[in-house]
């Protein structure tokens, strides 16, 4: 019996996965600076894992977080300390470190039981600042604000050496993360999260313990972010508190919103879009546009992102994924599309 759930077309999935793993080879053939593009894609991949988790929290459960950079930091620092100082193997650290980040998620989940919306945003933002200070204070382990070098990842004796290796490791984990997140979403858990987002009353009347599931959502989101942090630490080989600032947390929110909050593929698309925009496309247009608009480099990026956000909120609130769904429906119905009448 074909699952009535799977409204998506599953036969494309293996093709997509194959394409993901063939892509570096194509890129290598196409350009000599492929390593740089791979590196940019690797950042996107790491952030995808985090935004998938953030989407589960914000998009699905409706709980705002402006502190996700802090979870990333916790995952990264935990793994760096566990692997390089305690001597735990990397294969184990990818399980332990996310759990540590998840437990911090539980801690920040407590206030979420009482407060909502913007206030929760502010609380999580405060959490971000606290974590940053904490990392600086634990100088002996973390190297303070000077940052710390991190070793390379080794999986079963195989050292992940460069951006090429990183790509395959990171995207394998991205695929696993997408699968797990999709499973969460289509199960009892996902239904509970969405019910909490849209109607707490219906959720409670259906037997959902709000406190438990909100905490669980924070925990799971922390797991994903912590896991992204582990990959971040062991692929960039250097971590420092300057990276995990509030701006990064806001970027994550933007990624989820542009991709389409409440859709796993949306989070993935949104992240890819923003990271490529930031590193490849904006630099391309910057010099040209700078002739007409007088803005400084940093402001310029903020300006473009703000503008894109605005366009999405006005014209495409369902985000990139919503856009894709519309296109798909259009082609499914083609050529019998209902004609738009101008009135």
């Amino acid at each position: 019996m074909k699952g009535r759930y799977d409204d998506e077309n599953l036969k494309w999935i293996p093709v997509l996965i194959l394409a993901i793993f063939l892509f570096p080879f194509i890129l290598k053939g196409a350009t000599s600076s492929y390593k740089y593009y791979l590196y940019v894609l690797n950042i996107a991949g790491i952030y995808m894992i985090l935004t998938i988790g953030l989407d589960l929290l914000s998009g699905f459960t409706g709980l705002m977080s402006l502190g996700h950079a802090a979870f990333l930091a916790i995952g990264a620092y935990s793994s760096a300390i566990l692997v390089d100082q305690v001597g735990i193997p990397f294969e184990l650290s990818i399980f332990i470190s996310p759990v540590i980040a998840g437990l911090f998620g539980l801690v920040i989940g407590f206030p979420a039981l009482r407060i909502e919306g913007m206030y929760l945003g502010l609380t999580t933002m405060g959490f971000g600042f606290i974590v940053k200070r904490l990392i600086i204070a634990l100088r002996e382990w973390t190297g303070g604000s000077a940052g710390m070098p991190v070793s390379k990842a080794t999986i079963f004796g195989f050292t992940i050496n460069n951006d090429w290796d990183n790509y395959f490791m990171i995207y394998s984990f991205v695929i696993i993360s997408v699968i797990i997140a999709r499973r969460i979403v289509i199960s009892k858990l996902g239904r509970a999260f969405m019910a909490i987002r849209d109607s707490e009353q219906a959720a409670q009347a259906s037997g959902i313990n709000l406190a438990k599931y909100k905490m669980l959502s924070f925990f799971i989101s922390g797991l994903f972010a912590g896991f992204a942090g582990v990959l971040f630490a062991h692929t960039s080989h250097f971590i420092s508190t300057d990276h995990f600032d509030i701006l990064l947390s806001i970027y994550f929110i933007v990624m989820v919103l542009i991709g389409g909050a409440g859709s796993i593929y949306g989070a993935v698309l949104g992240t890819l879009f923003i990271v490529l925009m930031e590193n490849l496309f904006i630099p391309l247009f910057k010099d040209g546009l700078a002739k007409y608009i007088h803005l400084e480099a940093g402001d310029f990026q903020a300006f473009i992102f703000g503008f894109i956000m605005l366009l999405f909120i006005i014209f495409q609130p369902l985000g990139l994924y919503g856009m894709w769904l519309k296109i798909r429906i259009y082609w499914k119905l083609f050529p019998f599309n209902p004609r738009r009448r101008s009135t």
Binding site: M1, Y5, A202, A205, G207, G262
Partner: protein
């Protein structure tokens, strides 16, 4: 044997008395209707049973279980489910998932894990929902997203969600509100069938007098939080106070 027993319930919200000395019993297998003008405290009574409001005085017992000591999400475990006056569902989830939401406490974590791995468990879950959907006549809609479906369907989805957990008692807050005559008739039929076929006790709040008179075994009339009259439909219909209140209401409207 009495089933749901409400004793001397009193609740007020910062001065506004919503319910005052309300007591009644509902017997098993009964269709019990609650009527009254707007703001008379009907939904508040539901919210008290459901744990959303904590009354200042009184008790609510169901099969000798003190419901007031339970948290809202525990009520359904005692066999009481409900629908809402204003639609309370998840627009960007399929009909099937919206209905399965109601089965939350029936699915264990183990079911969830097996479902992640095998398709068999999925089939079982779906079968659960399809059974209810068949009963309500909304099969074939299961893959559709709820958002954008007609109001009537959305109302039925709420009922389906309340039924899928196999309750003993169902609370329905204005199931026919916003429906046309045809749909109202169908709702009446469904309510009767819920009692007759599924053997579920029904406590229903409704404004449509025809519907109430046709299906109810007993009716309770609330006005400004007090019980005005209670009894069989004929009895209530001819009660002078009731006539006065309802005529007044009509003049008002």
């Amino acid at each position: 044997m009495s089933n749901l027993s409400i004793q001397n319930l009193h609740i007020h919200f910062s001065g506004v008395v919503a319910l005052d000395e309300v007591s009644f019993d509902i017997k098993e297998g009964e269709i019990f209707s609650l009527i009254g003008p707007n703001g008379s405290g009907k939904s508040t009574l539901f919210n008290c049973i459901n744990g959303f409001c904590s009354p200042q005085r009184g008790s609510i017992k169901y099969n000798n279980v003190d419901l007031l000591a339970r948290r809202p999400h525990e009520i359904v475990k005692h066999g009481i489910s409900r629908t809402f006056q204003n639609l309370q569902n998840v627009p960007f989830m399929t009909l099937l998932d919206n209905i399965l939401l109601g089965a939350h406490h029936r699915l264990t974590m183990r079911d969830t894990f097996t479902r992640w791995i095998s398709r068999k468990e999925r089939g079982r879950e779906e079968a659960l929902a399809l059974e209810v959907m068949d009963f309500l006549g909304i099969a074939n809609f299961e893959k559709k997203y709820l958002s954008g479906q007609p109001y009537g369907i959305q109302k039925l989805v709420e009922i389906a969600r309340a039924l899928i957990c196999k309750p003993k008692l169902i609370l329905m807050d204005e199931p026919a509100a916003g429906m046309n005559d045809q749909e109202t008739l169908e709702i009446g039929k469904i309510i009767s069938e819920i009692r007759d076929i599924l053997n579920i006790t029904v406590l229903v709040v409704e404004h449509d007098m025809n519907l109430v008179m046709n299906i109810s075994d007993r009716i309770c009339v609330l006005d400004s939080g007090r019980i005005l009259a209670m009894g069989e439909p004929e009895e209530v219909k001819n009660h002078p106070k009731v006539i006065k209140v309802f005529l007044g209401d009509e003049v008002h409207a």
